[in-house]
């Protein structure tokens, strides 16, 4: 589940009510007013000791506030685009340097930027992953493994009126690397801010009256305990110019965490759509006004006129709520959905589609954002003296003093600065067309469709290492497997014997007297499309192929990120591998790495064959008729399976319904010469590669 940070704030506020006027005043207002207000209050209180007491409370509150700010400052990042092409703010969330910022901050920098922390150091940073629709970017600061970090607070615990502060780099003032602190309250929750086109959409975000100015973008909005409420991203600027108007917005921490796992994959992420439109009716219900027949929601039974009740276990009351919630999910996630149809409440789980198709998102990114201002070519000589002062213009975000921080601070990567000169030509260039420092260049790999493929490669390595260690005790997959046991078809009670052959060229499944043989790509596609039991062979064959060949030689393989399984937490590590027209998605437990599910897609507009490996008991009993989200079943019950033992149960599902469960009795490797290939399949084998 989500981070639980919901501290009980109310009860102990009681003894402090006497000081309410005082501390609220101190907290809200300009610091300069404090002494006079205190003096005034002291003078009007008859009991001097009460005043002393109040003053003491003020002192306590004040100290806690400054302590919280001092702590929070450490994790604040000041982002500078090399060459003075802009910048912004960010916040560190892991000790190995991963930090969140805005897409619109990182975008002018491309793959490399410089980041200052309040410790006075400038760090090299590389892009990791981006979410152009949600305006998020994950970057990694390099050079330390003990960066100070901020922890997310649960977005649902944040209330209107809660104290908060924004720390960051407004107007890029932090050329001395000391960020700016502005305080305020949460002015609104669950706000929706329209996107420009389909990019930079802010759903379910927070609104604050802390001063938000250009350059605060990407920075943290902290609560009074210096925990992270969200990522500041935009403000309502209208006729008054680009300065604070008392209305700033922060992307919710919950949304950021939904995307975080996928940002780690180095991909360019897309957002989700239900495939249906909804409207708020006069009676206050939210009804489907249009629905795509190709959507998963349609396959799960949602129809025109149905009333949406809950999404992701959150009650929706207006069409706005639906839009607000959907904007916080990555594409392809499966989320719980409850709706009412003909007086009957249906609980199900829907797979959300991508907002964009194909390269549409990449095209939009190109056109939606203005190209970075042309950075002046740096003269080869030392230019560390120049520190142009541009702080009077509100737009100084665009034209900061260029490399002042860089010039003042020694670069913190290893001392190979000198010897890297020769290969500098081959390194990627930063926004000022200078070669990126070696330490950063080592962590940058550009590839179409990815923000930084380096990180995807890392995740793939982790994926295959975990997979291979989990199945280390399985018989060799080299020439295929033979698996036997008892099969139970859903709806039947009597198990039947089954035998399964998994080979690179041909796969076979025999249950009782029925036999399916798949020998070419079309056969797998047909099997999945028709929802046949044999479609579990697709998943098994992907597993065999992945163990044997690894991601590099499997086909098109990439780490996808993290996604819930069957609409439930925790988020699983997800890897996609495409071969022979079938897309396989591997879901691994994030903690122990156990492979839980392989989904095989024949077609984006159809249900995948879900092959569950040693599924939890609740799942075996779950179908579309008894699915509900209010029971606690299954939330934490699948931990009793040891990770290294060989699979005992294979379970095939389509949509939300089970199809067949296999209880395994034997799992053996096929000898090369032991089982000669059947003659009639040879023709198909050729087509298979």
């Amino acid at each position: 589940m989500k981070l639980v940070m919901n501290r009980n704030r109310t009860p102990a506020a009681m003894p402090l009510l006497t000081g309410l006027f005082l501390f609220a005043g101190v907290f809200c207002g300009a610091l300069a007013h404090c002494p006079s207000i205190m003096a005034e209050e002291v003078a009007t209180t008859s009991n001097v000791q009460t005043a002393a007491n109040d003053a003491d409370i003020v002192w306590q509150v004040e100290k806690q506030r400054t302590d919280a700010i001092a702590k929070a400052m450490k994790s604040t990042v000041c982002v500078f685009v090399p060459g003075g092409a802009g910048g912004g703010s960010g916040v560190l969330i892991t000790s190995d340097g991963f930090a969140l910022t805005n897409f619109h901050v990182s975008s002018p920098a491309g793959t490399y930027m410089r980041c200052g922390l309040s410790d006075g150091n400038v760090y090299d940073a590389v892009i990791v992953g981006i979410d152009p629709v949600g305006d998020l970017a994950l970057i990694q600061l390099l050079g330390r493994d003990d960066f100070p970090t901020a922890d997310f607070v649960s977005s649902r615990s944040v209330r209107i009126g809660d104290a908060c502060f924004a720390i960051g780099n407004p107007f890029l003032l932090a050329t001395n690397l000391q960020p700016t602190v502005t305080a305020g309250i949460i002015s609104g929750t669950q706000r929706y801010q329209y996107p420009s086109g389909t990019l930079l959409e802010y759903g379910n975000c927070f609104q604050t009256d802390a001063s938000i100015n250009p350059g605060n973008s990407g920075g943290p909005l902290y609560d009074a305990h210096s925990d992270l409420i969200g990522i500041i991203g935009r403000a309502s600027f209208e006729k008054r110019g680009r300065v604070n108007v008392g209305v700033g917005y922060a992307i919710s921490g919950d949304q950021a965490q939904n995307f975080l796992g996928s940002l780690h994959s180095g991909r360019i992420l897309d957002h989700a759509t239900l495939g249906a439109t909804v409207g708020t009716e006069d009676d206050g219900s939210v009804r489907v006004t249009n629905i795509l027949q190709s959507s998963d929601a349609y396959r799960r039974g949602l129809r025109y006129g149905d009333e949406i009740l809950e999404i992701d276990n959150r009650v929706v009351q207006t069409a706005n709520d639906v839009q607000n919630l959907l904007a916080t999910f990555p594409a392809q996630w499966r989320v719980p959905l409850s709706f009412r149809q003909d007086g009957r409440v249906v609980h199900t789980v829907v797979r959300l589609a991508s907002v964009h198709r194909g390269d549409e998102l990449l095209e939009k990114m190109k056109s939606a954002l203005p190209p970075p201002p042309p950075a002046p070519q740096k003269p080869p000589s030392e230019d560390s003296e120049e520190t142009p002062d541009s702080e009077e213009t509100p737009d100084s975000e665009e034209t900061p003093d260029s490399d002042a921080p860089d010039a003042e601070e020694p670069r913190n990567d290893e001392s190979d600065d000198e010897e890297e000169a020769p290969d500098a030509k081959n390194r990627p260039k930063d926004a000022s067309r200078e070669p990126v420092p070696l330490a950063a260049a080592k962590r940058i790999e550009e590839r179409k469709g990815f923000a930084n493929y380096f990180y995807n490669q890392q995740q793939q390595t982790k994926f295959i290492e975990r997979l291979r260690s989990q199945y280390a005790q399985l018989p060799s997959s080299e020439n295929g497997w033979k698996i036997t046991g008892q099969a139970t078809i859903a709806g039947e009670t009597k198990p039947k014997l089954f035998e399964m052959i998994i080979r690179e060229d041909t796969c076979e499944l025999s249950i009782g007297s029925r036999r399916e043989r798949l020998a070419n790509p079309d056969a797998y596609v047909q099997s999945i499309d028709s929802g046949a039991a044999g479609s579990l062979l697709a998943g098994m064959r992907s597993l065999q192929r992945m163990l044997t060949n690894g991601p590099d030689r499997f086909g098109d393989t990439y780490s996808w990120g993290t996604a819930p399984l069957f609409g439930r937490s925790p988020l699983r590590d997800t890897t996609v591998a495409i071969h022979g027209g079938i897309e396989s998605r591997f879901f691994q437990d994030p903690d122990n790495g156990r492979l839980e599910v392989i989904e095989s897609f024949a077609d984006r507009d159809g249900d995948p064959a879900e092959l569950w490996i040693d599924p939890p008991q609740w799942l075996l009993d779950t179908d579309s008729k008894n699915l509900s989200w209010d029971s606690s079943a299954g939330q934490q019950t699948d931990d009793d399976i040891t990770t290294v033992s060989n699979p005992k149960v294979l379970h095939l599902r389509f949509g939300v319904d089970p199809l067949v469960t296999l209880n395994l009795e034997s799992w053996t490797a096929i000898e090369t010469d032991g089982t000669p290939k059947p003659e009639q399949d040879k023709a198909n084998d050729a087509a298979n590669e």
């Binding site: 402090l16 907290f27 007013h33 209107i160 108007v245 008392g246």
Partner: protein, 350 residues
């Protein structure tokens, strides 16, 4: 036994306070969260009394939305007088309920309008008189609750901004630089409260008491500085009270009989001409004045906008003509007009 001396009593008291302080500090150590102030309670307790108002506008840089707050359980809503109210506005309550409303009260000099919607048992603000104790003082922390920028729709909560009262002062200290007809005292605020759509929102103290009504956007013509202000609740109390009690209304009179054309007033008998009535709702702008006519004697001038006739609102020329039909030609007529930023009351004697 000796009675405790003064000194020992003092010591006792000191002990008590030390204990109390110690208890407090223990409480803080054990639950650091507690000492952190949150205005969540102050914010939520007024949400059900602040409303979103939608009306005319949406073109030419004019916003079609603003804020208001409920001042009677029967559904009187105080808001800022503005072009949004050129049509009968739609009012959305905090719970998302949607009402059509009528403008029942209108104080041009206060930039105040009172709407009436068909409700009962609604939560509402008492408008304080400030007679017993000042409504607020310099330096007081306040919350501005409004739907600025129309961020919230339906049942979504209004935006809450925090700040302090910077001063109580008269706007006309800089007369001429601010485009406002309001001449009275205002709360000057240190927060960016007066944004598009914030006009008519509630300014409250931390206990949820009404302190004032947020004003319109106001910009100094010379310096370009935007001013943030609210009209104090004690200034609003009497006019709002009069309107709620029905002692004062701007609703057109329907019970006075229509007189025949040769017995009633019209603009000719008053001695001026209006701009051509070409629209459904042409505003009542004076075009020309007859020399030595009654209007001329009362100092009516071209380009004056007639807001009220004998205290009754005339939103357009049709309403103006109809009002005049109910006034005997021999009677005086009082016009409330807007001339640039001034609200004037002119009595025309036939």
């Amino acid at each position: 036994m000796m009675p405790p001396t003064n000194r020992s009593r003092h010591r006792l008291r000191r002990h008590f306070w030390m204990l109390f302080l110690a208890a407090l500090m223990i409480g803080m150590v054990m639950e650091p969260a507690t000492a952190q102030p949150s205005l969540a309670r102050s914010s939520s307790q007024v949400q059900d009394r602040v409303v979103k108002i939608y009306g005319a506008g949406g073109v030419g840089g004019l916003d079609a939305y603003q804020s208001g707050f409920i001042v009677s359980p029967a559904g009187h809503v105080a808001t800022a007088w503005s072009s949004v109210l050129d049509v009968d506005p739609i009012v959305i309550l905090g719970d998302g309920r949607r009402f059509e409303s009528k403008i029942v009260g209108f104080e041009p000099a206060l930039e105040l309008a009172v709407l009436k919607l068909d409700g009962s048992d609604l939560p509402y603000f008492e408008v304080p008189s400030g007679a017993d104790a000042p409504v607020a003082r310099w330096g007081d922390p306040v919350l501005a609750v409004s739907n600025l920028f129309n961020i919230a729709t339906g049942n979504e909560p209004a935006s809450v901004l925090q700040g302090r009262i910077a001063a109580r002062s008269k706007l006309d200290a800089r007369r001429g630089t601010f485009q406002t007809s309001y001449r009275g005292e205002v709360w000057l605020l240190d927060l960016v409260a007066n944004n598009p759509g914030a006009a008519g929102g509630a300014l409250v103290d931390l206990d949820g008491n009404l302190v004032g009504m947020l004003g319109k956007e106001l910009r100094d013509r010379k310096t370009g500085v935007w001013l943030n202000y609210a009209i104090p609740a004690d200034v609003l109390r009497a006019p709002i009270g009069d309107i709620i009690a029905g002692r004062k209304t701007v609703s057109p009179v329907d019970d006075d009989p229509m007189l025949s054309r040769d017995k009633s007033h019209n603009s000719e008998t008053l001695g001026f001409k209006l701009i051509p009535d070409v629209l459904e709702t042409t505003p009542v702008y004076v075009d020309t004045i007859a020399a030595d006519g009654p209007a001329s004697r009362a100092d009516v001038r071209p380009d004056d906008l007639v807001l009220l006739v004998n205290g009754r609102r005339v939103a357009h020329q049709r309403a103006f003509r109809e009002q005049l039909r109910r006034i005997d030609r021999r009677d005086n007529v009082t016009l409330t007009i807007q001339r640039e930023n001034e609200i004037l009351e002119l009595a025309i004697r036939p």
